[in-house]
Point group: C2
DNA sequence: TTAATTTAACTAACCAGTCAATCAATGCCT
DNA sequence: AGGCATTGATTGACTGGTTAGTTAAATTAA
């Protein structure tokens, strides 16, 4: 069907709502988010939210889906790269780090949803799992498996490997507010982030490859080839 | 001041409220928690909450403080044990794992608070940092430093070591709802938890000690000496 | 009696969600 | 071309239910 100028403009509104929602939900959670805040951030009347989305929860689900979709697309692109399995794993971990840094709202949303899901009140998550995480997961295990079979990677349980690799990334950002309060260091200072980024990937390189030298070399190469992305989703100034 | 039977009973009510609050807040967050739900879970009239606590936020702060205090006490006890620095670090990491498992509410509460703090709307956190986390943190760095100086532990940045060790624990539990949906495995099944617990500590033993054999041996010993605790805070049955 | 503890009943504010009305393109008819 | 109905997009004003927080009275222990 042909896009008229009107429906194009409408899409634009819908989009602004969705992105305002991602921000608001990631900062305040489902219960804490205010629909009026979303509307005004999107520069739109509150009733318009209900024109495009059934209710608050549907908007929340749409926000989650948008985020998960982007994450999965990015990840699949990296895992489909034309390089060795080991390098793909390194790039995957690096992308994971960079995403949490540059789009912290995404991570925040997912984390909150995990907690909500755990307490047995989330339906959205099932959809996300099928649509975004399952393909990503399968592809990751496949890649690690390839690496092990070819002898490039150490023969350890791929799942345990992922816990270590991704857990360190998540925890670094998760703990940063507390670390900033307790120590004199600000872990989110650009230099500190860059340092941790390098440390995490080099550490992974030295840990998962059978040939440690090669792992270290690859880690350095991947880091050199991948600049730190801009923070696309900066914290809002506190009023 | 002498404890009368009346004030003892009062403390009991206050205590029930506090623990009901920990549960409710950890499951629903500050905004999602309902004061009436807390009151009825504590088998108490809602007005009593406001007799003991100024308002919802004060109750939330008290819940956080209670949790952080317990965590810090437990941790300091382990770090003060009469054994080698390396063993203390292993025990510390194991205790961290066991705490997240057996008192998931604690972890959930802390995580939510980190997000809240990050968006610049938390005052409670500053108090926690000084009261609970700073002593714990100092003591941990001290212990790792001792281990390095005595040659027992590898000379790596203690902070990076902690990110790896604790991050893996947090991430294992954080990701479990998603893993359960995506794979056929339930990571929270007792056997799976026990497996991950062993893997995490043995991995740490093999990674941070200069003498890997000794690290592996110590890890096994510590695991053997520490039974998995009961889940003191089981998930509520979903209605 | 007195002071600490506990409650039933109430209120004020807030907030998700609705509705009727308006606005702006698009196409149609003559 | 110019009016005119149609359809989609958007809004201001409203409401009903929920929930944090209050109050004044009742209960209990010492």
């Amino acid at each position: 069907m042909p896009r008229t100028r009107q429906t194009a403009h409408a899409d634009h509104s819908r989009d602004r709502i969705l992105h305002a929602a991602i921000r608001e939900f990631s900062e305040h959670g489902l219960a804490g988010a205010r629909t009026s805040a979303i509307a005004s951030a999107a520069r739109v009347n509150k009733a318009l939210l209900y024109y495009y989305f059934r209710d608050k929860e549907a908007l929340y689900a749409a926000a989650l889906e948008e985020v998960a979709g982007k994450v999965a697309d990015d990840a699949l692109a990296v895992l489909g790269l034309d390089c060795s399995a080991g390098e793909r794993v390194l790039r995957f971990a690096l992308q994971h780090f960079d995403r949490i840094f540059s789009r912290h709202g995404f991570q925040s949303l997912m984390q909150q949803e995990m907690v909500r899901f755990r307490t047995g009140q989330s339906h959205a998550m099932r959809i996300l799992a099928k649509k975004a995480f399952e393909p990503m997961w399968d592809r990751t295990l496949e890649t690690v498996g390839d690496g092990i079979r070819s002898g490039e990677l150490c023969n350890v349980d791929p799942m345990q490997m992922m816990y270590t690799a991704l857990g360190a990334n998540v925890f670094f950002f998760l703990s940063s507010p507390m670390v900033r309060l307790v120590t004199a260091i600000d872990p989110l200072d650009p230099a500190a982030v860059a340092g941790r980024r390098t440390a995490a990937i080099e550490y992974l390189g030295q840990t998962i490859f059978t040939d440690r030298k090669r792992g270290a070399r690859l880690a350095k190469a991947v880091l050199a080839a991948t600049p730190i992305p801009e923070n696309a989703f900066p914290e809002r100034k506190t009023a």
